[in-house]
């Protein structure tokens, strides 16, 4: 038996992927109206380049980057700008957004194709990626071109594509690897080229044998690219865990993957990179898993950025009886929504609707009984029990001494806590009260 790669500790939540894992990606209907937030990424918001009344085409820039860590934003349909105002977004913030009313024609700007893309220089590739508005599509939405421009003192030797998809329910990356493995591999090759790196890896959890097979055959002619089966364990797809599993390197405390010479990219991002560099296509649509018992017909859909969740949910048969919670992203790290009028953005990997029986309903929690479960499973090897007690009592500085800022809020501690303590909330509270 071959050993599967993995990291230490972690948890085994119920994955519930079967709702949507067998459903091929289908394009969503052309939306009537889109709301495109000017900040869908980490970093400075894009500067608005249109005004109310402007006619825009699909792929046209409507927001331009306003700094090094920033990203442009494009119209995903053709039509007329009818409003520019603050709108609620999935993470709860109000963000300045451009509202476009469709003209039904879906006319596109001319995209510049590059059939000979493998002969482009690294700088050209980075510029194309930046101009296409590509950001990490796993959820964090960090501008990809910045990740591909590491400082000189941090040489990169390895690129890892994250096909773990360890968040329960989500199947968007799974479907992409099944349906478009060749393009994903080409995207990886472009990323490797931009970084001047010889070594590429793809890590995929074992529960996707079809994806592993498809990716293996797509990469069969590429001696520099290896496909790895990973243990089914959350959070296998967290950058630091993935690097540990595949390369055996430990990103130092408070460090970044580049500190161990690795860049990690998401599967969807690799595909977007390929489409941007090969076809000049900006990031204006993405695959979204619409799933959960609260959705009548779970699907994987190709959705235009800016489409409202309510639109997408309607195309999946609407909410089922007993739907109580709508989550942008997966159940472990996603954001609960208070309204369905929230736009799908570049980082929206899923729309998950939970029913009463799926969702741990009680808000009640108890004192920590120090059972130590969280200590035993914390992927970062922290002491969440102690951190939560310190945060609860307001001892934020002490919490910092227990490496508070190494916590990346994966939620594993809260998942296993028998006292049902809101562990992630405690961590966020403490983090908000002290400087890193």
């Amino acid at each position: 038996m071959s050993k599967v790669a993995t990291f230490e500790r972690g948890i085994h939540p119920k994955y519930n992927k079967e709702f949507s894992s067998g459903k091929p990606v289908t394009p969503a209907k052309l939306p009537q109206r889109i709301v495109v937030p000017l900040s869908q990424h980490i970093g400075a918001p894009a500067k608005c380049e249109v005004k109310i009344g402007d006619e825009v085409k699909r792929g046209q820039v409507i927001g331009s980057p306003s700094g090094f860590v920033s990203s442009p934003v494009h119209a995903s349909i053709s039509g007329k700008v009818i409003a520019i105002a603050d709108f609620p977004t999935a993470a709860g913030r109000m963000v300045n957004s451009v509202v476009i009313e469709s003209d039904g024609k879906d006319e596109a700007v001319v995209f510049k194709e590059n059939p000979d893309y493998m002969n482009l220089g690294a700088d050209e590739i980075r510029t194309m990626i930046k101009d296409a508005g590509i950001v990490g599509m796993g959820g964090a939405a960090f501008p990809t071109n910045v990740k591909l421009s590491p400082p000189k003192e941090k040489p990169i030797d390895t690129v890892i594509l994250n096909g773990a998809e360890c968040e329960p329910y989500l199947t968007a990356d799974h479907r992409l690897m099944d349906e478009r493995p060749r393009e994903v591999i080409e995207g990886l090759k472009i990323i490797m080229k931009a970084l001047g790196v010889k070594e590429g890896h793809v890590g995929i959890e074992e529960n996707k044998p079809d994806a592993i097979k498809a990716m293996q055959s797509a990469a069969s002619g590429e001696p520099n690219i290896k496909i790895h089966a990973l243990e089914i364990k959350y959070p296998q797809g967290a950058e630091k865990m993935l690097i540990k599993a595949i390369k055996g390197r430990e990103v130092p405390s408070k460090g970044l993957p580049m500190d161990v010479s690795v860049v990690v990219q998401n599967i969807g991002t690799a595909l977007a990179v390929y489409e941007a560099v090969r076809y000049g296509k900006p990031l204006i649509e993405r695959v979204v898993t619409v799933t959960g018992k609260g959705i009548r017909e779970p699907k994987n859909m190709l959705v235009r950025v800016g489409t409202l969740m309510s639109d997408v949910i309607e195309q999946c048969g609407g909410l089922a009886d007993g739907a109580v919670k709508v989550i942008s992203g997966g159940p472990m790290m996603g954001f609960a929504q208070w309204t369905l009028d929230i736009p799908v953005t570049k980082g929206t990997s899923g729309i998950l609707v939970l029913t009463e029986d799926e969702y741990a309903a009680s808000d009640e929690y108890f004192s920590c009984i120090r059972c130590g479960r969280c200590v035993d499973i914390c992927p970062m090897g922290l002491n969440p029990s102690m951190l939560s007690i310190l945060a609860e009592k307001g001892f934020y500085e002490e919490a910092k001494e227990y490496s508070l800022f190494d916590c990346f809020e994966c939620g594993s501690c809260a998942y296993v806590c028998p006292a049902k303590r809101p562990m992630v909330q405690f961590m966020r509270l403490a983090k908000s009260q002290v400087k890193p």
Partner: protein, 336 residues
């Protein structure tokens, strides 16, 4: 809002949105269940009085927690099974012949003074049942060491009393103990099944091991504390326990007798009062074992498990603060 079925507001809460199905109550009731074999053996050997004493402890524990939480206007938590467990453990730690006020006072001290007044479950420094028992032992030493001969039939308060195996071992030596049970195999057999004098629930090693098996199977406890505790006792008994000098002791008798099995699997492993970090739990277990043997071999009492665990309870927070978790990325940070 375009989508149908918006009959009520959506629930918004912090991630994660799914939880596993463990709960404090589930854990506590499972531990209660795991003590059932020991309880059954206690009733078998010590008669209905064993059930009477235990029931009094449980009733007083649950009731006093309920009344105190009501009085202090705190959340009522008696359903979580922890007060029940404290009562059950205290009951199993008492001799069968105690008068009715012993369970009452012991449970009150355990629940009200040791647990509720310290802030309730999660905040108590000491194992409540053991503080209850320690209080009783120091207040009524005679009553608390009046061991009734187990007969597997109903016995009254005037039943024949005898010394515990550890008591015989301490006062009269190993040869006397062997004589008492016929031969050495007889000693082991009696200790395994529980036909020896002692506290209600501590005498049958097999019953306790079955219960411990349930806890291991459910992963509610790990090997760290029981193994280091029992191992230290066995090692110390072998090295220092013999009358003929070093390395001549009988570790098996020491491991099987007294409150060690009950203590190592059910009391020292109490989440609230033991260290949370596994490395710390090993230190804790070794400490428990060492103090137990120190008392058994050199102290004034024949048995030391209770005081050993209570003393180590004091050290649990200190151990947790000084044992570091195995942090991801920590090694490289030091190199910088």
């Amino acid at each position: 809002m375009s989508t149908e079925a918006k009959t009520r507001p959506l629930i918004v809460s912090v991630s994660p949105h799914v939880r596993d199905d463990e709960s404090v109550a589930k854990i506590m009731w499972t531990v209660n269940f795991a003590l059932l074999p020991a309880f059954i053996m206690a009733v078998y050997y010590f008669g209905p009085r064993a059930a009477y004493v235990t029931a009094l402890c449980i009733a007083t524990s649950v009731l006093s927690e309920y009344l105190f939480q009501r009085w202090l206007k705190k959340k009522i938590t008696v359903n979580d099974g922890s007060a029940f467990l404290t009562g059950l453990l205290l009951g199993l730690n008492l001799p069968s012949g105690v008068p009715f006020y012993i369970p009452l006072v012991g449970s009150f001290v355990a629940i009200v003074i040791t647990k509720t007044l310290f802030g309730g479950l999660g905040y108590n420094i000491f194992n409540p049942a053991l503080i209850g028992r320690a209080f009783l032992l120091l207040t009524w030493p005679k009553l608390m060491t009046k061991w009734i001969e187990p007969t597997a039939q109903f016995v009254g308060l005037d039943a024949k009393t005898t010394a515990t195996p550890l008591g015989i071992l301490k006062e009269e030596g190993l040869s006397k103990l062997i004589e008492h049970f016929g031969d050495k195999a007889g000693v082991y057999k009696s200790l395994l099944f529980g036909s020896t004098a002692g506290s209600l629930g501590e005498t049958s090693a097999i019953a306790l091991l079955i219960g411990a098996g349930i806890l291991f199977y459910k992963r509610y406890i790990t090997w760290h504390i029981p193994l280091s505790f029992l191992g230290t006792v066995a090692l110390a008994a072998w090295i220092f326990g013999g009358k003929e000098g070093l390395l001549t002791g009988d570790p098996i008798i020491h491991v099987l007798s007294g409150g060690l099995m009950l203590g190592a699997f059910f009391m020292a492993t109490d989440y609230v009062t033991c260290p949370t970090i596994k490395k710390g739990q090993i230190i804790f277990g070794i400490g428990c074992g060492a103090i137990t043997m120190l008392i058994r071999l050199k102290g004034g009492f024949p048995e030391g498990v209770m005081f050993a665990i209570l003393l180590m309870n004091c050290f649990a927070p200190l151990i947790d603060r000084n044992v570091k978790t195995d942090m991801f990325g920590a090694i490289k940070e030091k190199k910088k």
